[in-house]
Symmetry: C2
Subunit: 336 residues, 2 copies
Amino acid sequence: MHEPQRADAAAHPRTVGDLGEDAVLGRILPRLRAGDAALLGAGDDAAVVAAPDGRFVVTTDLMVHGPDFRLAWSTPFELGWKAAATNLTDVAAMGARPTALVVAIAAPPSTDATVLEGIADGFREALAVLAPGAGVVGGDLSASTVLTIAVTAFGDLEGRPPVTRSGARVGDVVAHAGVRGDAARGLALLFDEARDAAGEPDADAADALRGRHPALIAAQLAPAPPVAAGVAAALAGATAMLDVSDGLARDARRIALASGVGIDFSAAALGPDARLALAGAEDHGLLATFPPATTLPAPFERIGRVTDAAGELFVDGAPIDAVGWDPYSGWDGRAG
Amino acid sequence: MHEPQRADAAAHPRTVGDLGEDAVLGRILPRLRAGDAALLGAGDDAAVVAAPDGRFVVTTDLMVHGPDFRLAWSTPFELGWKAAATNLTDVAAMGARPTALVVAIAAPPSTDATVLEGIADGFREALAVLAPGAGVVGGDLSASTVLTIAVTAFGDLEGRPPVTRSGARVGDVVAHAGVRGDAARGLALLFDEARDAAGEPDADAADALRGRHPALIAAQLAPAPPVAAGVAAALAGATAMLDVSDGLARDARRIALASGVGIDFSAAALGPDARLALAGAEDHGLLATFPPATTLPAPFERIGRVTDAAGELFVDGAPIDAVGWDPYSGWDGRAG
């Protein structure tokens, strides 16, 4: 059996192991744009990227099959989209305009090459929609038993100071742009209704859920965070800002601790399920504070105010605990 | 058994799963320097890095347990060192001075926190030795069943054009800085003499090899590439350059194809085992071409000349094939 299989693989290469690195790159690179900031793109030891104001913003993130995504639930396109979107939001949360990404992917040699093509398509489209002009300037392909996507994203502050977590002042307006709790609702639906009898992710059930709850499933699998609102917030004078990846409460507490202030949420602004809005992770909205008289840039909404209770959180004046997601304690490697 | 174990883990947290992300970061970050280029370091959504000439060089790379390293052979310190060194060399190969790294690590929750501390120490020391002034400006911690290290490295071209692979000219001198074949010799020793009866990597046997063959084992597990020679080559007028990661022949062919030239190696310069010098991967030396009259900067040595036989390789005028390493076809996930 062995030799005929090899001959067939050579005639009709399908997996990344059959194709080898150069052929896989040859399929991926034409699907990507290097973007406007690329002075030298992929193909050499390193890329060269424009940083017009003499600085660049940089953030990096790993997405791992199991704790961060399941191929039975996410399409390859959604994986690439989400990997791009979440990193672009981290750049936006500094008040920067995203300029470029580098992407490193480790895949089992048995991975069908169309999976990597789909991931590349997702990156391209997320960039086109969320950060027009930005592109993928370089990357790396490796082998692993676990599909892993490492993204590093860059941004341009356009001469402005970065908007950090430490600048919130007592009396500031607390504002949020993006969905609240939808990504967690989508994940709960997938866990509750898209697993088979053995508890394993089920692709057909996930497809059915996409039809019934398109917004919630998209919020989890292919989020569309308000990337452009990051620059708008900076221009409007935001005093502090961050990407809400671990839940509104947990991330608000980070601003509270870094700035030495308290944050008092308005229950009415959080909506009917305030607890989910505060605890739900992975929404990737932007949480920012603004001087009181600021006209908030769209799509920011006022959701609370900054108080003098350093490091503390409240809802309508009543203290609450921060809750959220930890990559280690939230996943044990056995439950998957 | 379950509750007492939990109580013990809480009292004496040891693994990254026991400790959680914030506590692990609290152990790692004090071991790292942000470096001279860090305008805003770790702790926010993104870092801000200086790019004085309005551009930055960027390269990214994944190291995965199994295909790229074995914890039974490499110490955590060596892993961090090698991950830093190989990425710094890619920056150097553009003729740039390394300024900063970001590091994302995915580790099983059962990983002892001292493993991540050792990796951080390796990063710090490799930076201090190979690229003084450069530091780690940010990162990410994730969970995975496979220990994975993703590094993205940055460099400053200091106003110079990047040295790409495409600038070699007929008549140029071909020069190399670094060891040739030592990393492959070290890997062969580990495969031949540091595996147990079942073929699995054996830590004690690797330690014994370190004593008997320190230079060859270090070349594989903790290489010290000539990072500073990258800027020196650019200043001396190098016309093309790259990092020799996949073997001298395979990487020389990349210059030959990109530049539309041939490369004729001198057998005498390659040493007694020319075949290993040409084929051995992971040495991470710098291969560069220079105008004929150039005084080569140390530690570059002349190893050949550029000819007009586009895309072809020779040794003393006799054609040779390019051979080297492919991340997929070189590793099948079963042999480990």
